[in-house]
């Protein structure tokens, strides 16, 4: 995979993950162009299209478009399922995920994505394992928090 973009129906980018080195300017241009192209497509059209020299696989979930750019030899259907798996992960983590969740917890969305895909390839395809990894990280987080608030409570910091 070369990159993944999540954007709203108004064209606001909610998440952008780039797996190829590109300058900032190029990224902005690509995002702009691609978002326009996809928003222009009608609902019944197929989920794949050719854009520049890439294949684009996209799907809309509620108000968010999930869009991946893959190379010529990549399998489109499996990419569609990658998107679906990612949505499932978000859904399980946030509990009935909606766009707002992704907006307010954008860093979590990136963390979850990193556990699932790395370098553009699927890393761990078991939903259970990915969620377990995230939960472990959260636990570490809470452990770290506890001493702080206790100290604060006592008034020592």
């Amino acid at each position: 995979m070369q990159f993944m973009l999540l954007f709203s129906r108004q064209g606001k980018l909610r998440l952008q993950k780039w797996y190829v080195p590109l300058s900032d300017k190029e990224r902005k241009k690509i995002s702009r162009d691609l978002v326009q192209t996809i928003l222009a497509r009608k609902p019944k059209m197929c989920s794949f299209l050719e854009w520049r020299d890439l294949k684009i696989v996209y799907k809309r979930y509620a108000s968010l478009y999930f869009c991946c750019a893959v190379e010529d030899q990549d399998n489109e259907l499996i990419t569609l399922e990658i998107i679906h798996r990612y949505v499932e992960l978000l859904d399980k983590y946030f509990g009935s995920v909606c766009e707002l969740d992704i907006i307010f917890n954008f860093e979590k969305a990136y963390f979850i994505l990193d556990e699932f895909l790395l370098g553009g390839e699927a890393q761990e395809t078991s939903k259970k394992n990915v969620l377990k990894a995230i939960e472990q990280a959260d636990l570490l987080q809470e452990e770290a928090e506890v001493p702080r608030s206790v100290l604060e409570e006592i008034g020592l910091t």
Binding site: F48, F94, E107, D114, E121, K128, A144
Partner: protein, 843 residues
């Protein structure tokens, strides 16, 4: 539900995000952001050292602002500081920041790499994963340099946790992609391949991507993976859906892993080992069989996963291209998908069939679906699906269905998307030429192409039709008639005028007998379009007119009248003016014999490859499937076009061939020597042959030394515009420090070089300086030759050429070594020539 999720809330961040969302306008948003930026800046600069939580919060805010689309130029240092924190969340945010906002400051890079190194050696799997993720996300050369040797070790070490192994595998993949030279697999190869047997499916999933990429670059080293991959695949394919538990996706066992295994196998030819091959064929058959079974779930995810494996398996079957029954089964399966309810499946089926069409085993099977494909072309609502259908028609075209397919493509072209028209035009042109049994059909097709999509008909296409018409006597009359009729349309495309002008100019006589297309009628028809055309077309038409004068003497007066009028002979375009003037003169002073010889019918073009194919390949990129590959083996002799694919850069050829001699030089030049690729006279530089690969190389500006020396004229003039210093000092020569005074005719001598390229520039008793120069378009080269007129050798001979300031940037000054040479008067020949300077300048 928004805001606070598990773990820490970073309240401040949530508030900030809410504020931004509540901004009513872009300006308000920018204002709020700037306020926050100022706040963060002051906090970072402040005296009080920030605690980890605050730092994390601010860095996260900066990240959010950046992701909104604003530039951030600070915060990197603080993010790097977060990396060294022991708190997981702080590290996490720090890593996220630097992965997203990559910075090329070397000091920062050093610190980042340090932090990563610490985390990698920390033995804490979560920290190790964070570090590996960061490397995979950034993948910079500096990171590759620092960690490329470390990561393989982590990958294969026995005590590495599975999750870390997964991350290490893909991290290594990323580094390999960006800096392949730094990732040396050598000693790790066998152990990496062995990961295919790992118990943990996640590790296998990750490792496979790495192995696939490495196999593509080093197939021999990794070929042991093939049998392992086959056994893994067959275990998965034959497993019940309860076996793989977590890795079963909507009742499909390990779809991602299956697809990756099938991809890996596509890097290699079919396995030689019989047992392995047998197992693999069994696998593929199972997959094909499963496609026929009723689905286990109604969910689209189930069918997508199942079909993903199916399509990948079909790709593998096509890649092997050696099992006829598998190929036919694959084709049938795809045929079923062609009419599936789901658009996605129809799209993919069309795409896969394109590759299938080029295999000799399945070509016939593909052809049976032609009606379905044509229907798809006509009725599909989605333009990308229609495009795929057009591609497939192109791929499946052969002699038996060429006429039908070309007709369908032409009618599709009338309503096609503008972005794909040029490619379609090229394809139709190629097909028409390749499968033309009857060349009049070919001519019709091309003229139709021009009529329908004239703007997208590139030069290669109409050059080709003219080439073919000229080479085939039987179609010339038909071409002339058809073109004549086509030109009568009220609004005809300029390309049509070009083709028409050329063909009528050559073959108008074939239809001149009919009063409806008498010479004068033809001329008037062409001339009626004249003023609508661009300069190159008009140039072509002028050439056609002079040809008419030759063919039809009764039109001479009329045409001369046209040539004589001011808009021609005083035309602001040099080319047109020159042609008008010269053609006019030619028609007046040349006898009929001379005229006939000069304007004799164009000789047949030598057989050569079609450059249209090259252009199409260039457009589509290297992955294009070519019909002609298949046809090569079936090609009959005598066809005009070749089957092979070549890729000469036609633009380069065109520019190198398009010299600008005047038309009169061409007219005479072509009679005396007709080298391949010489510009045919009448059309001037328009019909320059751009096809020939074996065309003349770019004009060589090498100096023919002997030729030059013979060209040197008797010294009678000199010139003092070049400052030549230090000449003539030799040991026993008659003392003279200064050059002898230049001969009186100095000033006029320079004028000679307005018309001549070669000659003597300067002469006195000691020295003769000659010039030879040559020019092509905007480049020129000048050689200066120094001749010793004395009987003794020059010593310490140096030259300096100086030139006015503004020329300096345009001149490339090359000085070659000089050597001593003899006098032309004491010996019969120049022993060695001395060329000391040759400025090459562009003007």
């Amino acid at each position: 539900m928004p805001a606070v999720s598990k773990g820490d809330g970073m309240r401040g961040l949530a508030v900030f995000i809410s504020d931004i969302r509540n901004c009513k306008s872009k300006e308000a948003e920018i204002k709020r952001i700037n306020k926050e930026l100022a706040n963060i800046r002051s906090k970072f600069k402040g005296d009080k050292a920030l605690d980890g939580y605050s730092k994390k919060k601010y860095v996260c805010k900066l990240l959010f602002i950046f992701l909104l689309g604003h530039d951030i130029d600070f915060g990197h240092m603080e993010a790097v500081n977060l990396l060294s924190s022991n708190k997981y969340t702080e590290k996490q945010i720090g890593y996220l920041f630097i992965s997203v906002l990559v910075n090329s400051n070397s000091e920062l890079i050093r610190l980042i790499n340090n932090a990563i190194k610490n985390d990698l050696s920390s033995r804490n799997p979560t920290f190790m994963c964070l570090a590996l993720h960061c490397i995979a996300n950034v993948g910079s050369r500096e990171m590759a340099e620092a960690f490329a040797s470390e990561i393989p070790r982590i990958l294969v070490a026995g005590d590495t946790m599975d999750s870390v192994k997964q991350s290490a595998a893909l991290c290594l993949l990323r580094l390999y992609k960006t800096s392949p030279d730094l990732v040396l697999m050598g000693e790790w190869t066998s152990r990496v391949v062995h990961l295919l047997n790992d118990q943990h499916m996640g590790v296998v999933t990750a490792a496979i991507s790495l192995i696939t990429c490495l196999s593509q670059k080093n197939p021999d080293e990794f070929k042991t993976c093939v049998s392992l991959a086959v056994s893994r695949l067959s275990r998965i394919v034959s497993s019940a859906s309860t076996d793989l538990q977590d890795y079963t996706y909507y009742f499909v066992p390990a779809p991602w892993l299956s697809c990756k295994l099938l991809r890996l196998l596509q890097c290699y030819p079919p396995p030689e080992d019989g047992a392995v091959k047998g197992r693999l064929v069994e696998c593929l058959e199972t997959i094909l069989n499963k496609a026929q079974e009723p689905p286990k779930s109604k969910k689209v995810q189930h069918s997508n996963a199942k079909n993903a494996i199916l399509f990948e398996a079909i790709s593998l079957i096509i890649h092997y291209d050696s099992e006829p029954n598998l190929l036919v089964r694959a084709c049938n399966q795809l045929g079923q998908f062609l009419q599936h309810r789901e658009t996605n499946l129809r799209y993919l089926a069309l795409e896969s069939m394109c590759t299938l069409a080029s295999s000799e085993f399945s070509h016939e099977a593909v052809k049976t679906h032609i009606e379905t494909v044509i229907n798809a072309l006509k009725t599909e609502r989605d333009v990308s699906v229609r495009q795929r259908a057009a591609d497939l028609l192109y791929a499946m075209c052969d002699r038996s269905n060429a006429k039908q397919i070309v007709a369908e493509m032409l009618s599709y072209l009338e309503t096609a998307d503008y972005s794909i028209r040029e490619e379609m035009v090229l394809k139709v042109a190629i097909l028409a030429e390749k499968y033309a049994v009857d060349y009049s059909w070919y001519v019709d097709t091309i003229l139709n192409l021009i009529r329908i999509a004239g703007d997208y008909v590139s030069e290669e296409v109409w050059y080709r039709v003219i080439q073919i018409v000229i080479n085939r006597d039987d179609v010339q009359g038909y071409a002339a008639k058809t073109v004549f009729e086509a030109l009568q349309a009220p609004a005809c495309h300029e390309n049509m005028v070009k083709v028409g002008g050329y063909i009528l100019g050559e073959f108008g006589n074939l239809i001149a007998g009919d009063p409806r297309s008498s010479p004068l009628v033809q001329f008037n028809l062409l001339h009626s379009k004249f003023h609508l055309c661009s300069v190159p077309t008009r140039a072509l038409l002028l050439s056609a007119y002079i040809k008419f004068i030759n063919l039809f003497p009764e039109t001479k007066a009329t045409i001369q009248e046209v040539l004589r009028c001011d808009s021609q002979i005083r035309n602001s375009d040099v080319e047109l003016q020159q042609r008008a003037v010269e053609y006019l003169k030619l028609s007046s002073i040349a006898s009929t014999d001379v005229l006939a010889t000069v304007l004799e019918e164009m000789p047949p073009f030598p057989e050569r490859e079609s450059s249209i194919l090259a252009k199409l390949k260039k457009k589509k990129g290297p992955g294009t499937v070519s019909v002609t590959d298949l046809e090569d083996s079936k090609r009959e002799g005598g066809e005009l076009n070749g089957g092979g694919e070549r890729g000469p850069d036609t633009a380069a050829m065109a520019s190198s061939n398009a010299s600008t001699p005047s038309p009169s030089a061409d007219l005479l030049g072509i009679r005396s020597a007709a080298p391949v690729g010489a510009a045919p006279a009448s059309a001037g530089s328009l019909l320059v042959d751009v096809f020939s690969e074996a065309g003349p190389a770019a004009p060589s500006a090498a100096v023919n030394e002997d030729g030059f020396l013979r060209d040197l004229e008797q010294p009678t003039e000199t010139c003092d515009s070049l400052l030549v210093e230090g000449s003539g000092d030799s040991d026993s020569a008659p003392p003279s420090e200064d050059p002898a005074p230049p001969l009186p005719e100095a000033d006029e001598l320079l004028n000679k070089f307005v018309c001549k390229n070669n000659g003597v520039l300067f002469e006195n008793q000691l020295l003769q300086i000659g010039i030879k120069s040559e020019y092509r378009q905007n480049l020129g080269r000048m050689y200066l030759f120094y001749g010793n007129k004395t009987s003794v050798q020059f010593a310490s001979f140096t030259t300096t050429v100086s030139y006015p300031g503004e020329l300096q940037s345009h001149i490339l000054f090359v000085q070659s070594c000089s050597c001593m040479f003899r006098n032309q008067y004491t010996s019969d020949n120049w022993d060695t020539a001395c060329y000391s300077t040759s400025p090459i300048f562009a003007h």
